[in-house]
């Protein structure tokens, strides 16, 4: 069908509406790599060459009938409700750019909002797997191109010209004599009274004037003036501040509360109620919620990780590890690496507003899986899903955290129990201790070689179970029958689909095994890849040394394609690979391919004692990454400035994962309760020099980018650390063995609010 209407012709719709509304199917793409069933039967080593996670999510979306639509209003504004969550990754901006390109309208005339939960989209309202731009690139442009065509046709009648004599400029349609008419004046004239199917051509890549050019974020002005509204900033009548008193151990439940009446009588407190996750307190201000949470005297039942510690989990992982089999007769390089628990708290803690009435409910929250949230909340409340309106609000960061809807579910429960609207927010201590984490994992790697040839690569990744119960699991389950992976669970499928082997390393097997479902886990940014790639790249350095090759040259020789070599060459060239550096400092280089994108990182690290031991108040100094150079090829970069921002964030994450940030598990709870306990990268850990190179487009189709930077950055930092210190690191982050803070008490679960703010004025 698509072939018969030409490579750049696509089908879409004009919808029946008073003003112009055009639409396309969100599953629409020119081609899908996973096309024929014969291709699915290839053996697993190269599975990501045939189909990766992006394809899977896109294939899953194809059968849905849900349309996404572009509207033109009488004010000349073009509007689009994006069925995804904006959490900082810049998709509202890149989406506006796609529409601006096809409609020849200035970016500030495009209004992109976030769609409420739309169950009819089935699988296609999940923000994850760096899939947004990949999946929406074509359908959004098709809808916009149809709108352009309809506006031209309406203008032709108004101006009495042939369509071929008209051009579109800055949201105006102009004829040859210079007469013009604005989009707003055409909005109703271009509208349709019935649904019409239309085919259009899209602007060819060589004619792009917006796509591929750097644009600043469309929400930047709102953000820097404080006008940008997050969930807790929304003005929902009577939705008063609400917090939850939580157990001292992970997922502990309420036994009994000794002083409910006393806390209910505290200043500002309106309600106190036991819920499934603790004791909820609603008050006039969050400050009074904190005081009430601290005043509650609760006896708790044991949690889901009772008595557990890092060491106990490490032994569980050891027992769950899949065998590498007998060692081959040829020489091998082997390594085993441990990655401790890490938190994926965003700066905005878990939060949601809920207004639950007898027959309906309304939820506001930053949700990356709003359909699953709607269904789950409806079931919890005993309402039909259609009676639960779920509004997706822009989020203050996610990093995988907002794939889940823990706060929305809690808010709904509290609102139903007390019969009032609530504005529920987790305290930072809650978010760190009870929030979702990146699971602790180990990775064992064995590479066999002979002379200058690598014969085989085996990796056994063993992890505390990752909870994919936010909808991605259902996508995989629904499509698993089409995949050549046999009868395995969806975590293992996800693992296979997200892991590539970028080097010509002979027979490759990378397997995941999971254990222990007692933790609150989730898909932290880049999911398995930072750990898997870090282990792989460290072993690559060892292998290069064994073969007496330079780490950059070795990678270059074994990479599988020109596109991969180009990013590696770029960082080596720009970063001055091999330049002389003082003892105790070194460069590291790493490569990673995922989401149909390729990337390379080169970093320089300073591990000299005077740097490592520099004084930092309430923080961790440690080795300093002094310089980072990063090259990225996403196929087609819609917004290079936004892409750079995503890589920058990935570098900050990679530095943290390699050097400073982890959670310490003791006696069934995580010790960290503050940003001065959990050492995410801070200014004093930030590279003093940073260059990000966006490679020229190599494709007609954008690959994924939101998570891409984390794995190569972490791996490059680890490799640099190994080369600077002369010892390959095997445990991450490298400082995990030293507890660099005094743990806060677990009872009460949140720390007191300080009173000495004035004395710190400066």
């Amino acid at each position: 069908m698509r072939e018969s209407i030409g490579r750049r012709r696509f089908l879409g719709y004009v919808l029946a509406a008073p003003t112009l509304v055009t639409a396309a199917e969100i599953g629409l793409r020119p081609t899908v790599a996973a096309a024929s069933s014969a291709e699915f039967q290839l053996p697993s080593p190269g599975i990501t060459d045939i189909v990766d996670l992006n394809d899977l999510m896109t294939v899953a979306a194809a059968p849905t009938s849900g349309l996404i639509s572009v509207g033109v209003g009488q004010d000349g504004m073009v509007s689009f409700a994006l069925p995804r969550a904006e959490v900082g990754q810049g998709i509202t901006t890149s989406t506006a750019m796609l529409i601006a390109e096809e409609l020849s309208v200035p970016l500030d005339r495009v209004r992109v909002t976030l769609a409420d939960a739309r169950p009819e989209l089935v699988f296609n309202q999940l923000t994850g797997g760096s899939n947004t731009t990949f999946a929406t690139y074509t359908p959004i442009r098709v809808a916009a191109a149809i709108a352009r065509r309809r506006l031209l046709e309406a203008a032709a009648i108004e101006l009495g010209s042939a369509v071929t004599d008209l051009s579109v400029r800055d949201g105006m349609i102009v004829d040859r004599s210079g007469r013009s008419i604005g989009f707003g004046a055409l909005a109703d004239k271009a509208a349709s009274v019935r649904i019409e199917q239309v085919s259009v051509e899209l602007t060819p890549r060589e004619s792009f004037t917006v796509i591929g050019k750097p644009h600043s974020r469309i929400d930047a002005l709102d953000a820097v003036t404080g006008r940008k509204k997050f969930a807790m900033d929304l003005d929902v009548p009577d939705a008063k501040p609400t917090m939850v008193c939580r157990a001292p151990t992970l997922n502990g439940k309420v036994g009994s509360v000794a002083n409910l009446a006393e806390v209910r009588a505290m200043a500002g407190v309106t309600d106190v109620v036991v819920i499934s996750t603790g004791v909820a307190v609603r008050a006039e201000t969050f400050g009074q919620c904190i005081d009430a949470v601290r005043a509650l005297r609760v006896s708790w039942k044991p949690g889901t990780a009772a008595g557990k510690s890092d060491e106990i989990v490490r032994r569980e992982l050891e027992r769950a590890e899949l065998s590498l089999g007998l060692p081959p007769l040829t020489p091998t390089v082997e390594g085993k690496f441990t990655f401790y628990f890490r938190g994926n708290s965003a700066l905005e803690t878990n939060c949601a507003i809920a207004d639950v009435r007898a027959d309906r409910a309304e939820i506001w929250s930053a949700l990356k899986s709003p359909i699953v949230a709607q269904r789950t909340i409806a079931a919890k409340l005993g309402l039909a899903p259609s009676r639960v309106a779920v509004h997706v609000v822009q989020g203050g960061g996610s990093f995988g955290r907002k794939l889940f809807f823990d706060a929305a579910l809690e808010a709904a429960e509290v609102s139903q129990k007390i019969g009032k609207p609530v504005r529920l927010m987790w305290h930072r201590a809650d978010d760190a201790r009870q929030g979702r984490v990146h699971p602790m994992a180990t990775s064992r790697v064995r590479v066999s070689y002979l002379g200058g040839t690598v014969l085989g690569y085996e990796q056994r990744h063993t992890s505390v179970a990752t909870d994919l119960g936010h909808g991605l699991g259902e996508i995989i389950t629904a499509t698993a029958a089409q995949l050549p992976v046999g009868d395995i669970g969806f975590s293992e499928t996800f693992f296979l689909l997200s892991q590539t082997m970028p080097y010509n390393f002979g027979a490759t097997s990378q397997l995941l095994s999971e254990t222990d479902k007692g933790f609150n886990t989730g898909s932290m940014r880049n999911v398995y890849s930072p750990d898997v790639a870090c282990a792989r790249e460290l072993i690559v350095d060892q292998l290069a040394a064994r073969m007496r090759k330079d780490p950059y040259r070795f990678r270059r020789d074994f990479l599988r394609d020109d596109r991969s070599r180009a990013v590696l060459d770029k960082v080596a060239e720009v970063g001055g690979w091999g330049r002389a550096l003082p003892a105790g400092t070194a460069q590291g280089i790493a490569f990673h391919a995922e989401y149909k994108s390729v990337s390379a990182a080169l970093v320089e690290i300073d591990c000299r004692p005077e740097t490592v031991n520099r004084p930092i108040r309430e923080g961790v100094a440690g080795p300093r990454v002094t310089r980072a150079v990063f090259a990225v090829d996403v196929g087609l970069a819609v917004n290079p400035r936004g892409l750079e921002a995503q890589m920058m964030g990935g570098i900050s994450d990679g530095i943290a994962l390699a050097l400073t940030s982890s959670l310490h598990l003791r006696d069934g709870y995580f010790l960290e309760a503050s940003w001065d306990n959990y050492f995410y990268t801070r200014q004093w850990n930030t590279p003093l020099a940073l260059q990000i190179i966006v490679m020229p487009s190599t494709s007609e189709q954008p690959g994924g980018a939101g998570e891409l930077g984390v794995a190569p950055a972490m791996a490059a930092v680890a490799c640099a650390y190994g080369r600077a210190t002369g010892t390959m690191p095997t445990s991450f982050p490298i400082n995990h063995g030293t507890l660099s803070f005094e743990p806060k008490p677990t009872v009460p679960p949140v720390p007191p609010s300080p009173t000495d703010g004035l004395s710190h004025a400066r």
Binding site: F230, E284, F286, I290, S753, T755
Partner: protein, 158 residues
Amino acid sequence: MPERTFRVNGEQVTVNVPDDVRLLWVLRDVLGITGPKYGCGINVCKACTSHLNGKEVNPCAIPVKDLQPADEVTTIEGLPATVGRELHPMQQAWLDHDVVQCGYCQPGQIMAAVALVRRVAAQGRAITDDDLDGLRNICRCGTYFRIREAVKAGAANM
């Protein structure tokens, strides 16, 4: 309930809240001024950074009773008016460098940056890498490098 009077962004306000409620909640929950964000509540993350009489403070750590009628609280919303423009030079620098990712920490980052530049200027010197290393505001999106560039650019125009 006691009445407290002070000034916020150029206007006198009077609120009826208990003495020990922290200024952050008075601003957000009582006055509806939502630019200052909650990120930790214990003066660590600096997402609520605002100015009190021109100095950098964290409202999450200030009981409202500590404020006097003549005290001037400036939040991100009131920053442009302190220079009589639509945007403060630091906000403009933030736009020029497209610093923002999710944007949640940025009001606090900008208020901290302005205070840093003022302190350094009072010492009659230029901003150094050590000064920038001393900014404690968390940005979990990790846009620290653009923040450094924007602070230097904003300082040049202050």
